[in-house]
Each structure stands twice: as structure tokens, then as C-alpha cells.
Symmetry: C2
């Protein structure tokens, strides 16, 4: 306060207060997230002493812009104001708020009251004239002429009625508002950041596959070329991100055998996450997968089919990684001179050496790890799935993502952090584009509603973009183990419709391979993590058609491409969950009903809030099940549903409704 008064000569006359600007993450320390073309709606408490009227602007610019764009904010209730704009560039944006006492507007409104009360207003007209003349000085061209004309009339010799009519005219209000006196305006003390990504950051559909399990001949180690042949098939199913576990040379030291056996036979391929061997480390390719040219061909083939390759970046080393020899100081040394392996006492993971981020050479380490990303960017990769980011320092990630996006703003990072909520949120705040979630373990209606309400109805929605996975190579949830094929379908539909971004650990889900390593385990029997598998991609038992259909539905319905407008609705059966999603412009509305019981047919009455969903209450409306292709005529809020999990456990309804817009009724699908 004192500082302001001494540095700002007019601080004492800046009477307007601006506070509680939202969104604002941790006092502006972190950016909110948007994608190109999305809206940013900003609200703020803005008020002044006394009864003067205010003019409030929402201001925004990209980091490169010198000047602010300005949008007028409108009052809501209780001193809250709102404005909005669209972000159009792949850039970092900033926004802030400016407001001032609008003396002319105050005067005009007061004049109307005086006139209505039958008061004489000669002095008031003089005051207005002075303000119009002052605005005339600030204006030029046509506006200056108009203001001159108004000043002449309002301050002139005409009848009082004539002068008042001019003074109260809407045109004068508009021209005056265009040339305000902003000398004593207040600007919010922070410029709040927005991280703007490309659209795939918001809406993406992932298919994870182990390249080594893609050979057409059983027993042979798969290659990038094998995977390349599968690209059209996966693209045809509607996936747009093809995500590969680590593709680097695999260490031999302490290599694990099938089903995580402590000892591997010489033929066992080892885990792709035990990165680094004599053939190289994080910038090398496992020779059995092919070479760099093969990889580039794969990237290109994917691109030609509208897909991108996502690479798994796991910053850890096998004892055979070249770093261990060349940069011993990046690892912690034990007092006996050996290198510290990974541990979670009493468990030991002797095949993995973690980096020592507290090393004296932390800067060199950071730079090398960043260079890994740039290396793969040079090979055409723009999406990285980061393995266990929560076991490396937060500042490292913030710095890495900042550096990468400075040069390649189109780059996307998915955080594979299955850990405590605040750690997950923090990783998202500091820059991760998307995040894995607890979805995999949220299988009951109560848990799903609670979790997705937190993700989409709180501040979390501004920085945390969920990417939902029914399964991963590390997580075979017991819901899938016990529910079999219906459960796989249920979880697929939930992921695809609850989340604008979702992914599948492809072959196991597609082929309903849900056998655990042992009862109570979330590991797969014969997990691909430790061995090469062979999948029959032509099997008629595949969920391929269903995946194609649900991804097509996502493609056709903008409501499913955003997480901003998700609402849960009551059903009088706790095994049935119902929710709606709407596009940001509210034109597209999808209502989903899913049977969470993988064994039995369930039925119940769905209760939709018609007014909130923009459905006219006085006429029937058609619901079109895009998944099962049924069409039903519904009437009123309560309607009956019945779902047999062995046929199809879900409805994905597109709602055809009459929507009232400002001008007219429009018919939207």
C-alpha cells in the first residue's frame, strides 16, 4: 500500500477495487489450460466506494503481443463481473482486468432519475457538457465530430427537453463509452497466464501397443515394420495416438523373466523399462525393433493415417546403460562403492538405477534428460507419455516442459503419475498437458460421480486434463478380471464418454485378455512387460467394431470432445449411471446411460433436468442411441431404460431438441 502510494502519483485516486479474479491458479503462479479456439470466461469482483457506475474491461494478449486486446465485462449479481474471449494461437496468453469509474454513465443514469422526478437540471446539463467536451478531446475523426455536435446541443440554447433528449440518447452513451477517461483506472495487479495447446491436448484417443508383440508370425519378435502394417487397422478404429512403451535397448543385468521372474533365461527379452544396454540408452532404439529409419517410417505412416506416435519416456537406467559408466556422478553412490538401485524398502529393484536429482551435477543431468526429448522431437515425435513423473523433482518437469514448449509449443506431455491427488494436480499445474487418473479404480456409481465431479466442477478443471484408461500394462483392475467381456465394454464406453481423452492398452482390452498373474494381483498373466506376445488381430472376438463405433461417436459429437460440461443425473438403480455432456456452445447434447453390473440386466428410470439441458418440457423429444442405433421418443424428465450387459451395457443418446436461442427456436442435433 505504502509503496504504491509513493510510486504511483495517482494511486489515491484509483478508487476501484478488483479482486477474486477467476480462474486464477495458486495466485497466478500457474497457467490455466486451453486449446486453440476455446473460450476463456473470466469473472472478478469489481466495486468502488459510493454509488458510481463502473466500466470494466477484460484484457488479454499473447506473450509476444505488445498491446492488450480488450473486451467489455458485464455485471452479474453481487459485484461480480464477467467477460470472455477466445484463444486463437498456439501460444502463452495473459489476461488481466482493468476498471474505472464511468462518470459519464453515472451522470446519464442520474440525469434520467432527476428528470423523471421532475427536477430542473440546468447545472447537470452543464456538467454533462463538460464531460462530452473532454471526451471530444480524446476522440478524433467522426467520433470527435459527433461529440462536438452533442456538446453543442446538450450545452446549447435549445429547449431543455431537446437538450435532455440528446443527453440521454443511446448513441451518445455509445460514443462516450468509446472514449473513456481512464486516468484513474485500476488494473488488477497480476497478469494471469494461459497455456494454449493444440486441440489434441483436449481431445485425443490413445491406443497403446508393444511393438515387439506385433509380428504376424507367432514366436518372432515384432518390429516397427510389423507395427507399420497395423497402422491402418488401428487408425480405422478411430484412434489418433499410437503409444509405444520404451523402444530403447534393454539391459541384461538383473533382467526379469516372464511374469516378473527374478531370473531370466537367455532368450527372455526383458522389460522395456529397464532402459539402456551396450547398444545405447534413451536416444537409441532396441535393435530387434528395427533402426531409426524404420522408426521414422512408422512415424510417417501413422501421420498419413491421421495418427501420431507417442513415446514413453522413463528416466531411469538399467545397470548396463551407458550413462552409468559415463556419468557415474548422476547416480547416488553407496558407501560400498556400488550404485544405488531403486528401492521401496524392503523391496529392491536391482535392475533399475534411478538418477540422483540431488547430484552436484544436477544442471548437467537436467540438460541431458531434456536433450532426450529434443532428440525424439527431431525424429518427428510430438507426444510423450512420461513414466512416473512423481518420482522426479517437480521443478525439473516444469523446466523441461517450459523449454520444450518454448521451441515446440505443439508438444504434449501425458503424466503417468498414479499417486496422491495433490501430487497429481501439482504435476498438471506445472505443465503436463494430460494426466492419468484414478478412473481405473472408480467402478461404482458413487465413486465415479464423486471423482468426476471433482475433476470437472472444481478449479481442477482449469489445469488438469484427465486421460482415462480402462487398463494399462500395470493395471488390470479386478472389475475387468471378474466381469469379462461385458466389463471390458462397460469400461471402454465409460472412458470414451466420460473423458474427452481416453486410451486403451489395446490388444488386451480388444481381445478381453483379463487373466491376472495371480488372484488379487493387478498384473496380467504372461504380461507383455516381460515377454513377447502374439495377438490374432483378425480374431472375430475383437471389440474392434465397438471401438470403431464409439470413437466415431466421439468424432461426430463435440459434446464428447470437452470435459467442461459433464453433469450426472439421477437413476433409481445404483447399478445404472447416467450423465450428459454438452459442447461448449451447448448445441450438441449427449446423454449416456451405462449398466455397471457386468452380469445382470438392469433397468430403471432416468431423471433428466430438462430446463438445464435446454429440452422443452412441453413436447416429446427424440433420443437416438448412437451405440445400439435405437431411436426412442421420450417425454418429460423421467424415462425408462433397460440394459443387458451381454448385449450392450450402455446407451449413448444423442438428444434432438428444440433449443431456444435469443432470436428463435433452432433445431439442434
Amino acid at each position: 500500500m505504502k509503496v504504491e502510494l509513493s510510486t504511483d502519483r495517482e494511486a489515491g485516486r484509483r478508487r476501484v477495487v478488483i479482486e477474486n479474479v477467476q480462474p486464477e491458479i495458486d495466485c497466478g503462479r500457474f497457467a490455466i489450460k486451453r486449446t486453440v479456439g476455446e473460450r476463456v470466461v473470466v469473472r472478478a469482483d469489481i466495486f468502488v466506494d459510493g454509488h458510481d457506475r463502473l466500466a470494466c474491461l477484460l484484457k488479454y494478449r499473447t506473450a509476444a503481443d505488445e498491446h492488450w486486446n480488450e473486451v467489455r465485462m458485464e455485471p452479474l449479481v453481487n459485484d461480480r463481473w464477467e467477460g470472455e474471449f477466445c484463444v486463437e494461437e498456439l501460444a502463452r496468453y495473459f489476461y488481466t482486468v482493468e476498471a474505472w469509474v464511468d462518470r459519464f454513465d453515472t451522470w446519464q443514469k442520474d440525469l434520467a432519475k432527476r428528470v423523471q422526478a421532475g427536477q430542473q437540471v440546468p447545472v447537470e446539463l452543464q456538467m454533462g457538457t463538460e464531460m462530452i467536451r473532454a471526451a471530444q478531446q480524446r476522440a478524433d475523426g467522426q467520433d470527435a465530430d459527433r461529440l462536438g455536435w452533442y456538446a453543442d446541443v446538450v450545452g446549447g440554447e435549445g429547449s431543455e427537453a431537446e437538450r435532455i433528449a440528446a443527453a440521454l440518447s443511446d448513441e451518445l452513451a455509445v460514443v462516450m463509452a468509446a472514449h473513456p477517461d481512464r486516468r484513474y483506472s485500476t488494473t488488477y495487479r497480476k497478469e494471469l497466464p494461459i497455456s494454449v495447446d493444440r486441440q489434441r491436448a483436449r481431445y485425443s484417443t490413445w491406443y497403446e501397443i508393444f511393438p515387439r508383440s506385433t509380428s504376424a508370425e507367432p514366436g518372432r519378435h515384432g518390429t516397427f515394420r510389423d507395427l507399420e502394417r497395423l497402422v491402418p487397422r488401428i487408425a480405422d478404429m478411430g484412434f489418433d495416438v499410437l503409444y509405444l512403451p520404451p523402444i530403447h535397448p534393454i539391459g541384461f543385468a538383473f533382467r526379469k523373466g516372464p511374469n516378473n521372474a527374478r531370473v531370466a533365461s537367455p532368450d527372455d527379452p526383458g522389460s522395456p523399462w529397464a532402459i539402456g544396454g551396450r547398444e545405447g540408452g534413451h536416444k537409441s532404439i532396441h535393435p530387434e525393433l528395427g533402426d531409426l529409419d524404420d522408426f521414422r517410417r512408422l512415424v510417417k505412416a501413422a501421420g498419413e493415417h491421421g495418427m501420431e506416435i507417442a513415446l514413453d519416456i522413463a528416466y531411469q537406467c538399467s545397470p548396463d546403460h551407458p550413462y552409468v559408466q559415463e556419468h557415474r556422478q548422476w547416480f547416488r553412490e553407496r558407501p560400498d562403492g556400488t550404485v544405488q538401485y531403486a528401492e521401496n524398502p524392503p523391496k529392491k529393484y536391482e535392475d533399475i538405477y534411478p538418477f540422483d536429482f540431488e547430484s552436484d551435477q544436477w544442471r548437467e543431468l537436467w540438460n541431458e534428460l531434456k536433450s532426450v526429448i529434443f532428440y525424439w522431437i527431431d525424429q518427428g515425435v510430438r507426444i510423450f507419455r512420461i513414466d512416473n513423473p512423481h518420482t522426479k523433482p517437480f521443478r525439473f518437469w516444469e523446466s523441461l516442459i517450459e523449454d520444450v514448449k518454448d521451441r515446440y509449443p505443439e508438444t504434449l506431455f501425458l503424466a503417468e503419475a498414479f499417486t496422491r491427488p495433490k501430487v497429481m494436480y501439482h504435476l498438471a499445474k506445472l505443465g503436463f498437458t494430460q494426466s492419468y487418473t484414478y478412473f481405473t479404480w472408480r467402478n461404482t456409481k458413487h465413486d465415479l460421480v464423486e471423482y468426476f465431479t471433482t475433476l470437472t466442477k472444481t478449479e481442477v478443471r482449469e489445469f488438469f486434463r484427465p486421460n482415462l484408461w480402462p487398463n494399462t500394462p500395470d493395471i488390470l483392475n479386478e472389475y475387468l478380471q471378474f466381469g469379462g467381456r461385458p466389463a471390458c465394454v462397460t469400461r471402454l464406453v465409460l472412458a470414451a464418454t466420460l473423458g474427452a481423452s481416453y486410451g486403451v492398452y489395446g490388444p488386451p482390452l480388444e481381445f478381453c485378455d483379463v487373466q491376472p498373474r495371480e488372484p488379487g494381483s493387478e498384473e496380467y498373466w504372461n504380461s507383455e512387460k516381460y515377454q513377447v506376445r502374439h495377438w490374432d488381430f483378425d480374431s472375430p472376438d475383437s471389440l474392434r467394431d465397438l471401438m470403431r463405433r464409439i470413437n466415431r461417436i466421439r468424432h461426430d459429437n463435440p459434446a464428447l470432445q470437452t470435459d467442461l460440461h459433464l453433469d450426472f443425473h439421477p437413476v433409481d438403480n445404483h447399478q445404472l449411471i447416467c450423465y450428459s455432456k454438452q459442447s461448449d456452445d451447448k448445441k450438441n447434447l449427449v446423454v449416456v446411460v451405462v449398466n455397471l453390473d457386468s452380469n445382470h440386466t438392469e433397468s430403471g428410470w432416468v431423471d433428466l433436468p430438462l430446463a438445464e439441458l435446454g429440452i422443452a418440457a412441453d413436447r416429446p423429444y427424440q433420443v437416438h442411441d448412437l451405440l445400439g442405433d435405437g431411436r426412442y421418443l421420450w417425454d418429460g424428465p423421467r424415462n425408462y431404460v433397460e440394459l443387458n450387459p451381454h448385449v450392450l451395457p450402455a446407451h449413448v443418446f444423442q438428444i434432438r431438441r428444440h433449443v431456444r436461442t435469443e432470436q428463435q427456436f433452432e433445431y439442434f442435433m
Copy 2:
């Protein structure tokens, strides 16, 4: 982020994250409020990558301290930590949080797990020894000796069992924790302010009286000497603040007559808020009240009876105020050369000239207005009730209160802002010690519960200290008009028990003078604002005894001296409201039940959450009605109450209970 990395050589190794520190008002822009002796409980989200254990400190100091005091924080759940301290000085305090990875603690806990799993730990013992030796370097005296001894044992030649026992000992943990390695600690990026006031800021009991209405002889204008004779009477009733409307010379121009008549007769005394006349302005005393010596005597007499004088500061002028001649530039000039009077179009208040805070001479104006406060401070006044602060700029108040409290930190300011909630909250944030509230208009159970929940269960409680008034010279609520004496009692008891600070516009409430100027008006008939009144202070109809009793109850029960622990409890009758208050140490518990119906006896069943209130559920407990003096034995959560408003509309129960403390059952009243 980038800046930190370039300016802090170790930024990359500071792995701990501290965020969401609470309380924190508007990102630390404003101070939380406490009184001397009160606790400050601070919570923060603190976490680190990986699985290392943390050490977290809450740090605090006064503005004058060079060094921080440090208190260990303890983990709650979900990465939340908590610490607390007491503020002991009348000063501005700051607090912040520091945390670091506690490698020794991590090591000790891991060692225990390894040992339990039967692992060999020779290398681990070496690692521990190194850490103990490093701590020994940081320690001195006895601690250094102990650490040396432990290093010798843990790293020595003894049996592994012996070495492990020493390594895991609690004593070692304690000594190591006293000499931590804080090189890579993280300190929260803000130092959050606390405004510490004296206790009367939190707990005060106000009696408002017009000095001119205190003469013992009907018809004579009262004086400070008359009021002085009433001081013992008012003090005996348990009030500790005697608050006077403006005591300055009253202007003649446009003076209002009785009941706000537009024209006054020559004998009419005018409104004390039309400040300034030929005898002076804000630093002068209305001659009919006495002189400065009389005023000082009054201040002294009040002090001798444990009371303080509070002055009403209304920054506005009658047209006769000396400022209007001497500082014409502090007022807005109308184009016709006249001074702008107060308006709320179409209403005109020609007897009042507001200051023009946008004047070119705003700094001179501010300084003069501040000097008014200092003038009365020099006369012994330390409490100011500020009239309509919401019609003067916020920054002015912030600057004024800062300047005054820099020199006289014991000064208290009560904001008389009856306006929109955010404006009221903002005035509290920027420094007002206490605030008027909407209490006067909250007369139903629903409204009371909703309002007081907002005031005491949200962040508002950190900066907004409510001062509750059943009535003021401007507000005679219709609840009082229609409810008569029982309503006066009800509102008195509500104010005195819902708020740690409350006040009464004394004589009208005491004598139940509740006749409005006209139906629908909140003005009094024959309001003291415009005329001298005479009160029979010996009248047997006075609520004097009740006021004495309720104020005594407040004095004896710390639960009623704080607003931090107010909880509402269900009653199955919407005319009965029930709430409890507890002292901060939870030792004192008061349960209040009030009949809001001023006409009829109401009864119902009160439902108390025994566990939350620390009442043992398995035995009866005594409730002692301190107001009516009844004693009842209650049993279980649900108990019957019946209140006749014409006898006493409220119970104020002190609860005698067995409270379980950590060590034993204690018996508290």
C-alpha cells in the same frame, strides 16, 4: 521458474513443494486478524517427489523481529500439514512455512523395514553413520557429543543388533531432528501478515448514547458532565465501550427539524452528523456539550470504570464547516460555482457536503482527515466508529488505519458500512477492526443460521469481526416495532451470545422505545438524531437488570468472547433457534436456545451433537440456565425446551460435562 533457477544456485535441488497455505487472504495481500494471546493455526499442502519423509516448520515473527520463531508442523491426511503458535504482542506479525526432505528420518524408517524383513544392512548402517557425522558437524556441545557417540556405535565394530538398536533409537531421532540439513529446504514464497489487536478488538460490549439527551432535567441540553454521572450506571450494566455520536459543532445551513423536517426552528439542535459551524469542525466540540476539559474528564471517568469512549468519525461537512471556506478545493464545484452537496438522485442532502476524494489536492485532504484521528487520540480516545466508510475510497482507509496503527497499535476502528457484502468484507480486509453487520435484519432462524455460518465458517472469519447491533439510531427494525419488549429481549440475547462483540443503541433498547416515525419506516419517532430527548434512567421498566446479567454471563464465559467456535443445532420448531459456542481451548461450552416468536410460547426438542461437543453420551449432564437460573439434568442428544417470551425468551445454558483429554477425564464447567 526460470528466474528462480538463475538466481538461486540450488533451486534445482529444492524438491519440496509448499502450497495452499491457509489462512491466506487474497494471496497474502491482506492480513488475518488476531488479538493478543490468540492462537494461529496454519495448514499447508507440503509434498515432495518420491517417497522421502519431510520435516516442516511453521515460522513466525513480528515485523520488528530479525529472526523467525519456528514450530514443527505435523502431518494430517492427504499431504496436509498443520502447526500453530500464539501471538503475544500488539504488533504486526508474519508467518511462513519451510520444509525439506528429512533424509535421516527417511533412512531410519526404511532401516526398520529392512530389519523387520530380515535383510542384512551393513551398507545402510554406513550410510546412517555418514549422516550422523554430518549432523555432528552442525551441532555443538552436548548434542555434538551424543551424535559422536551414536556415530561411533552405529558405524562401529559392535554386533549388528547393537548397531541397529542405536540407529533406530528415539533419542537419536530427536537429536538428529534438532540439527537438520536445511541446505535444500523450500521456503513458501510469501510472508503472510497478521494484524494483532488488543483483546477488546475481539470481545467488546458497546453502549451508544447521545450526550445531549443525558441531562437529568427535562428540557435542558445534556452535557459531558451529565453523561459523566451516568458512567457508573452504564459500567455497572457490563458495557465496556461508551460510544458517542459526533460531538462537534453542528451547522445551521439547511438544518433539519424534528423527525427530519425540512425546516428547523431556531431552537432545534440539528443533526450531530451535520458537522461544522462557526465554532469549528472535526477537531472542535459542540459548545452546548461542554469544552475539551469536560471531554477529557469524561474519558477519564469512563476509564476509571473500565470503559472506553468511542467517537463517531463522519468525514463530511455541513455547509458551515470551516473547511468549506478554507479548503474549497477539497469539495467538488458545480459549474454554477456552488459546492456539490450530497445526493442520491433524485434525493438531495443539501445540509451535507461530501469531500471530493478525486481532488487534485487529495494528499492534503488525506493528511488533514488523518490528523482528525490523531487529534482525538491526543485527547485519550482509542476507539473510532467510522460513519459510512463505504462512501470514501478504500485506499484512503487503508492508508489512514496503517498510519494510525503504526503509532498507536491499540487503536480500534469500527466500520459502519451497511452496504453490499463484498464492500463490507473489503473494508474489513483493509484494516477495520470490527464491522457492523446485517444482524439487524436477520430475524428468522433460516436467515440467522445462513448469515452466521458465512461469518464464522468461511474465510470471512479470518478478517471480519462482526459487531452485532439490535438497533442503531438509523435502524429500528420492524421486528422490534411489532415485538415490543419481548422482541427487545430476544434481540439483545441473540446479539450478546451470537457475537463476541455487540452493541446497543442504549436508551431506546433499554426502555423499549420502539415507535417508528411512520409505518414502514426504520426511523424512530422523535429520533434523537434531530432533537434532544429525555430518558428516565431510574425507570423500573428498564432492561437494565437483564443487560447486566447477560453481560456478566459474557464476562464469565470465554466461549462467548470468541466467534471461532459457533455451531447451530437442530430444533424441531422453526421459531426456536439453538446454537453452541465454545472457547478456543474447548473448556467452556455454552448452549443457547432462543424463542424467535415474540408473542407465543414455543416448545420443541433440541438435538445436540454430543460427541462434537465433548459430552459423554453414556451419562446425564447438567445444563445450567445462566439467564433464568434454572438447572436441568439432560440425558442424550434430544431434550425438551419451552420458552415463554413474556417471561424470558431464551435459555443460556452453561454445560457441565466430562471431557476426555489425552490423559484423563477432566470435569469442566
